[in-house]
């Protein structure tokens, strides 16, 4: 009887182990997939000296690049280089020349805060698109400081303390970014640099000074590291776009994540036509 009991227990444990180590089935191949329509993608940025950079690329397939792709090769592959790029504002029209791989630019453009500007793009290969946006008022930090914070558990975080003044009687949306700017990081992180971003809407501090202290988590910093902290007064639609991006940062399991149709202010294309000037402060940790 005792032997039978031992046999049964042995049998059971063998069975349990076989259950634990049982094989995963080979994944199945995919025969065919729908393709995304090729569209022009617009990305813009004002440089504080009045220059405008317009990056024109095209959408590409999900299998044509990943986080690990060579960023320069990718930009070369997807850049739109045959476009006529026209910026139209209250002071007239500017045609922006091609500088290099999909990057068009113009300098000394007298942008007027609160005015609307139109962007027209015509590419023989990729089609025609347009976008309109308003130049947002530049808001600077009135106070800002960055220091290392030792949390007592072996981690050293960047702690930022800042204040800025919100413009009264207008609705504003703000974006604060913290980014490492060491040369090595810069090259390695050209694709998806993953800045630390905070978004603010001025619902609760309209027309007042806003102060906050935050720590950049979960990154570790060392003395000698350099970070850039920027404050941008952005449009509501770009705020919503960035909010969607941040909300989906925890999307860690692809097949159970929800699809996101990211919005765009480009008619006939993707991306964002933004005209805001960030206030950028650099800090070298001691």
């Amino acid at each position: 009887m005792r032997n039978k009991g031992k046999l049964a227990i042995g049998f059971l444990i063998t069975g349990m182990l076989s259950f634990l180590i049982s094989c995963l089935p080979d994944p199945l191949e995919v025969d065919s997939m729908p393709k995304a329509n090729a569209e022009i993608v617009v990305s813009t940025q004002i440089v504080p000296d009045g220059s405008l950079i317009v990056l024109l690329t095209r959408t590409f397939g999900a299998l044509e690049a990943s986080d690990d792709s060579d960023p320069e090769e990718l930009l070369e592959f997807i850049s739109v280089n045959d476009a006529l790029v026209i910026l139209e504002g209250p002071q007239g029209r500017d045609t922006l020349p091609l500088l290099r791989n999909g990057v068009y630019g113009g300098s000394f453009i007298p942008f007027a805060e609160g005015e609307k500007y139109n962007l027209y793009i015509n590419s023989a290969e990729s089609g025609e698109i347009s976008a309109t946006t308003e130049v947002k008022r530049t808001v600077d930090f009135s106070k800002i400081d960055a220091e290392l914070f030792y949390n007592g558990f072996g981690d050293t975080l960047a702690q930022i303390t800042y204040t800025f003044n919100d413009a009264p009687e207008e609705k504003n949306w703000y974006m604060i970014n913290v980014q490492e700017v060491e040369r090595e990081d810069f090259v390695e992180n050209l694709l998806n640099p993953r800045a630390f971003t905070i978004l603010l809407a001025d619902d609760e501090f309209n027309g007042q000074a806003y102060s906050e202290k935050f720590r950049v988590f979960p990154r570790d910093y060392e003395p000698g590291d350099t970070i850039a902290v920027s404050l941008s007064n952005i449009s509501e639609e770009y705020y919503q776009f960035m909010k969607l991006r941040i909300d989906n940062r925890f999307t860690f399991v692809e097949f159970v994540s929800e699809p996101v149709d990211y919005p765009s202010n480009v008619a006939g294309g993707k991306g964002y036509f933004n005209l805001y000037v960030p206030d950028v402060e650099l800090f070298v940790f001691e």
Binding site: L12, P25, L28, V41, P193, F217, E258
Partner: protein, 760 residues
């Protein structure tokens, strides 16, 4: 007023019929002389249905003439007796144990077994007993109610191995799961892969997918009415099962002969202990405890008090640096329910039942690392009272029933509490708690229009009250049967349903951390209309039930959420909720053989399910996530001699719908230090995953019959040819040439299982 006149007309008509009738009284016993409560009685050709009382007796008034009396009782051979009824008659019926079920007899108190369903007005109804569930090889060898239901027509499963049910194009939260009348909000253990219902306690499971009787409401798509054993124990009995995932035990004990008894059952996984034995850590376990006290102070009163408590517990502490500052994660989720039921038979033909229930579900996730803590909580607690009064005029095949329901929902949907640096990423927040009430009044009458036509007409008026907002939804119900012959019928049903509770869940897979939420000022109750038509036949000689049923269902105010809403630790989901509509239609086929050496069923469903939300997919209709066109199963069990039984299950399901990443683009990162990759998705659920099919096989070896201690070994394999059942699509990089490709991974490959069961 019209309704009252209609009822009066039918009552008068019944009185006229009474004059041409004689009574047939009977007593139903087993071969040991014990009375058989709730035996089913069918009188042909009148198609009169009656149910024996608790003392095994029944009285039927029917037209004089030649009759065939058919008595059925699960686990016992059906009795057929032909009589010439010319005057009031009293008979005794003795039923013997089915040869094929000598080894395991379960008592089925449900009048709607497959054989009886043909003559009833029911559509979309299936019953399962413990015997059905225990004989089927499933994941890990753990007999599972939900996984057995997934093999029946009209029910589609979600992710492989999960306990989600998608019934007739509905969502996973549109199924009302009642355990002895108490709603169970989270029906799964093991993060969704095993249902919470201990198979040892099950007496009868009734799955209603359409043609809902008026007493049921609160969900759009199905009612899963799970009844645990409610028979008075005659002697001490115990049974148990030792499996790879969990073991379970069941003990029943009489307290006062024929008056009072109780049973208690427990189940626990010990995979944590096994893994510890080989030097590893898997700090997870689940357990269930069920119990029931049954009191029958008199033949007219029966009282039942049942309880359930079950939890999943995960407790991980990792301290890689051995400095005591490791990462601690604990996760606890659990259901608890208590229900009290009092069934009373009045001296007249009236019967009543009163149910009082409490049901709660909660989860608590706690993470701490160094100075950071993250605690997420959610809980829901229901109290309910339901009463039903029923009068049956068995001779005239009529029944009248009315009742009232009240449910109080108290929910704290989602509370997130963070401290330390992690609060920079995830701020403390809480959703508003809610107190809501659901009320319903219902009545229904079953009556014959002619010898062939039987009608069940009902009406349910439901209401949802929350924060001063009141919703009222009239829910008419109608089911009709036209008997083509004594064993063949056509049926038609219509149901309107309303749902006041919703589960806020990812569309792909439900998880224990999904949040249940009531209607609000902004969120209206979900409603549906469903019509179904069926042809059913019971082939008496071969004991085969055949059903072909078609349905069309429209749904309004379905719950969805804005594109891009992240539900993970999101307390602000209320502002993201949107409402839309849906429609589903399909054809279901079932051929089922319940007795004999060879038992099992073949099921097939052809179905469509689509959704429409103005805010999603550019306002265009799109397929629902589990819009699976074909869904079929072959389930067979074969007795080889007296001690061996083999079972095989083959399942085929069209691939689920999926929204893959089909493209991408880059935009300048906000810091100008690079570019961000933005994914581009296909249209919502535009892509169909590969079809799934799987063969499971098991073999059972049992002890000799007649011995007091009986045992059985059950061994087999799940997914015997190791084919993946895709759960989604991923993009994988080839390590050799860095090229990318789409793949469809599955979760479970070939899994052997073995279990040992006993009873004495």
């Amino acid at each position: 007023m019209v309704k009252i006149l209609t009822f009066v007309l039918f009552f008068l008509n019944s009185l006229v019929l009474l004059a041409q009738q004689a009574s047939l009284s009977g007593v139903v016993k087993n071969s040991g002389g014990e009375f058989l409560p709730l035996a089913n009685v069918l009188i042909l050709p009148d198609s009169t249905i009656a149910t024996a009382g608790n003392d095994g007796s029944f009285t039927v008034y029917t037209r004089k003439g030649r009759k065939e009396v058919i008595i059925t009782y699960t686990g016992l051979e059906t009795v057929h007796r032909r009589i010439n009824l010319q005057a009031d008659t009293v008979l005794t019926f003795v039923m013997t144990t089915k040869v094929s079920e000598l080894r395991e007899v379960t008592v089925n108190a449900n009048r709607y077994s497959s054989e009886d369903i043909v003559q009833s007005t029911r559509t979309g109804t299936t019953t399962l007993t413990q015997l059905d569930i225990n004989g089927i090889p499933v994941l890990g060898g753990e007999a599972d109610l939900i996984k057995t239901l997934q093999l029946l027509p009209g029910t589609v499963r979600g992710v492989e191995g999960s306990s989600d049910l998608f019934v007739r194009g509905g969502a996973a939260d549109q199924n009302l799961v009642l355990l002895d009348g108490a709603p169970i909000y989270n029906t799964s253990h093991l993060f969704g892969f095993l249902s919470v219902f201990n198979p040892s306690i099950l007496d009868n499971v009734e799955a209603i997918n359409g043609g809902f009787p008026a007493e049921y409401g609160g969900r759009l798509s199905s009612v899963l009415n799970i009844s645990t054993n409610a028979d008075l124990a005659e002697r001490t009995k115990a049974s148990g099962d030792i499996g790879l995932i969990a073991s379970r035990i069941y003990v029943e004990q009489p307290l006062v002969k024929n008056k009072a008894s109780f049973w208690i059952a427990g189940r626990r996984t010990y995979i944590d202990q096994v893994v510890r034995a080989i030097g590893e850590e898997l700090p997870y376990f689940f357990y269930d405890i069920n119990g029931k006290l049954i009191l029958q102070p008199s033949s007219r009163n029966k009282l039942e008090f049942s309880f359930y408590d079950g939890e999943d517990i995960l407790d991980i502490f990792r301290d890689r640096n051995n400095d005591g500052d490791g990462f601690l994660t604990s996760y606890v989720s659990g259901n608890t329910s208590q229900s009290f039921r009092w069934a009373h038979s009045f001296k007249s033909e009236w019967k009543s039942s009163l149910s009082l229930t409490r049901s709660a579900y909660r989860y608590n996730i706690s993470n701490s690392f160094e100075e950071n803590t993250l605690v997420a909580l959610s809980d829901i607690e229901d109290y309910s009272a339901k009463t039903i009064f029923r009068k049956e005029h068995e001779g005239m095949n009529t029944a009248f029933q009315f009742g009232a329901d009240w449910i109080r929902h108290s929910i704290s949907p989602s509370i997130i509490n963070t401290t330390g640096t992690i609060s920079e990423l995830l701020e403390s927040s809480a959703s508003r708690g809610k107190l809501a009430h659901e009320l319903a009044l219902h009545m229904q009458k079953e009556f014959p229009l002619s010898q062939a036509w039987l009608v069940n007409a009902g009406f349910r008026m439901s209401a949802g009250l929350v924060n001063g907002k009141k919703y009222f939804v009239p829910e008419p119900r109608l089911s009709m049967r036209y008997a083509l012959s004594k064993d063949q019928s056509l049926k038609l049903s219509y149901s309107r349903m309303a749902q006041y509770m919703h589960r806020i869940s990812n569309s792909a897979v439900t998880t224990p951390t999904d949040v249940w939420y009531t209607v609000t000022d902004e969120i209206a109750p979900q409603t549906s209309h469903q019509i179904a038509a069926a042809w059913q036949r019971f082939i008496t000689r071969q004991k085969i039930f055949i059903s072909a049923e078609t349905y069309y269902k429209t749904m309004r105010d379905l719950i969805g959420y804005e594109e891009g809403t992240n539900l993970f630790f999101n307390t602000d989901f209320e502002s993201k909720l949107i409402q839309g509509s849906g429609r589903a239609y399909g054809l279901e086929f079932l051929a089922r053989k319940e007795t004999g050496r060879f038992t099992g069923w073949i099921s097939y469903t052809l179905s469509w399910s689509r959704r429409h939300f103005e805010e999603i997919n550019d306002g265009q209709w799109f397929p629902s996530r589990y819009d699976r066109r074909h869904n079929g199963a072959i389930v067979t069990q074969y007795s080889i001699g007296k001690r061996w039984a083999a079972s095989i299950v083959w399942e085929f399901i069209s691939g689920a719908r999926f929204t893959p990443v089909v493209g991408q683009y880059v935009i300048l990162a906000p810091t100008l230090t690079g570019v961000d990759l933005i994914p581009l998705y296909s249209g919502i659920n535009q892509v169909k995953l590969a079809d799934s099919h799987r063969l499971d096989a098991g073999i059972k070896f049992m002890s000799k019959t007649g011995k007091k201690f009986q045992w059985q070994w059950f061994a087999g394999v799940y997914n015997s040819y190791n084919r993946a059942s895709p759960v989604g699509m991923i993009i994988e990089q080839n390590e050799d040439d860095n090229s990318l490709r789409y793949l469809q991974p599955g979760l479970f490959g070939l899994l052997p299982f073995i279990s040992y069961g006993f009873k004495f």
